[in-house]
């Protein structure tokens, strides 16, 4: 079946604008993760969802970042009033939902804030 998809694949925006990044997980996967990968850095955990709820939001860098998931499927990561330091690749992953299940990654959204 189809893997994890993300849109857009690339996004260029101006400082101060809001952006929305979308993730479509593998059908039936109950767990969904968001990560950020800045240039030359590893993956930084942002948030995960189990179903529609996010038990751990500790990784969100600031209150400008928010995420939601509806219908136990699609998730949206929103960054308000973007800053240049938000420029990164944002990766989404999903898993079957059991503890320590394999995560399947999407292709990422490359965000550039000018």
């Amino acid at each position: 079946g189809a893997g994890v998809s993300q849109s857009p694949s690339n996004k260029v925006t101006e400082k101060g604008k809001d952006v929305e990044l979308r993730c479509d997980p593998i059908s039936g996967h109950t767990a969904l993760y968001w990560y950020r990968q800045s240039l030359g850095q590893g993956l930084e955990f942002l948030i995960y969802f189990q179903g529609n709820s996010a038990p751990d939001k500790s990784g969100l860098p600031s209150d400008r970042f928010s995420a939601e998931r509806t219908g136990g499927s699609v998730s949206t990561l929103t960054i308000q009033r973007t800053q240049q330091e938000d420029s990164a690749v944002y990766l989404c992953a999903s898993s079957a939902g059991g503890v320590q299940e394999t995560q399947y990654f999407g292709p990422g959204t490359r965000l550039l804030v000018l």
Binding site: G3, A31, Y33, Y35, G40, Q41, G42, L43, E44, F45, Y48, Q50, P55, D56, S58, G59, L91, A93, V99, Q100, T102, Q103, Y104, F105, G106, P107
Partner: protein, 109 residues
Amino acid sequence: AQRVTQPEKLLSVFKGAPVELKCNYSYSGSPELFWYVQYSRQRLQLLLRHISRESIKGFTADLNKGETSFHLKKPFAQEEDSAMYYCALQNTGGFKTIFGAGTRLFVKA
């Protein structure tokens, strides 16, 4: 604090040589450890996980709790092993996953 350290940003070996990618972790409990790999122009994908005790593509990783390490090894490197490798830690019973900064492996012909 939970932390995963991969001390080498780049590792270059000749084809047929043994390879070891180092990973050290900091965690107060008993974590689950993973190695993920990203080949050129491909998505990040799971290579192996400690709990499965498996060998994938000739790679193995042994958890050493005393040294808090989970080094990835392969006795004879192949050119197709060239990729970015990430060590990751997931807390017991949880979902939060901490990744290391990654090591780029380059296998020379």
